[in-house]
């Protein structure tokens, strides 16, 4: 049983990102979409917290990252970009998808 956690909120504005990181177990994955992508920015407090998180892997939705003017070079280390196809396959690959609204 593995979980894909979905975060669509800015970590600067709302507590969903941090609540997700506090609850995500080792072995789970976190996918940042919409304003959630701001949580993966290098050189920011949320980015630092993301790197400390226990979740096994973090992904960022490319379309949302590019819309907001950022590219892979702005991300903290080890975060992977996925497109919508990758989003679908992540949902397939995990037993459960939990949204943090």
């Amino acid at each position: 049983m593995t979980t894909l956690h979905l975060v669509n909120k800015s970590p600067f504005e709302k507590d969903a990102f941090d609540s997700c990181l506090r609850h995500a177990l080792p072995g789970s994955a976190v996918l940042l979409i919409e304003d959630g992508i701001y949580g993966a920015l290098r050189g920011t407090p949320p980015g630092d917290r993301l790197q400390q998180a226990t979740a096994q892997q973090c992904y960022v939705l490319e379309a949302d990252l590019q819309a907001r003017g950022f590219g892979s070079e702005a991300l903290v280390k080890d975060v992977q970009m996925v497109d919508y196809d990758g989003f679908v396959e992540l949902a397939v690959a995990h037993d459960l998808v939990q949204s943090w609204l």
């Binding site: 669509n8 919409e34 919508y84 196809d85 949902a91 998808v97 949204s99 609204l101």
Partner: protein
């Protein structure tokens, strides 16, 4: 694999409806199924047929209608949430003496049980909201 989607926000104000639609399109393109999209809370506003959108902007309700027509996706608007917010099909409009209705093509009004049911039958349920 079969997906069920829950959409909790209306069109435009929040990106949730966009994200759900993009996910649905990507899933269908990869050969997966979308067993049902259930609209709850302000999500019921996705089902209005009265929206008038500038030519250069995306028309969110029409996008959903096209998904229903082209792929047979079942678009269900929660009746309780919809009544509160003024989204009615023809039968509801008559029953409540409103003299009109505003439900878009391809959507239908249904009960809360239809979300639970589709969630149980689907392999994965995804929630899109704010």
């Amino acid at each position: 694999m079969k997906f069920a989607l829950l959409v909790n926000e209306g069109p435009y104000q929040h990106q949730a409806a966009d994200s759900a639609w993009h996910f649905a399109c990507a899933a269908l393109a990869r050969g997966h199924g979308i067993s049902r999209v259930f609209f709850y809370h302000d999500g019921v506003y996705n089902g209005t047929r009265l929206g008038v959108v500038p030519q250069d902007e995306r028309h969110i309700p029409e996008r959903w209608s096209a998904l229903a027509e082209e792929h047979g996706v079942d678009l269900v608007i929660c009746v309780a949430a919809a009544q509160r917010r003024g989204i009615l099909d023809a039968a509801e409009g008559r029953r409540h003496g409103k003299g009109t209705d505003n439900l878009a093509e391809g959507f239908r009004i249904g009960g809360l049980g239809q979300l639970i049911e589709s969630g149980i039958e689907a392999d994965r349920l995804l929630v899109f909201g704010d």
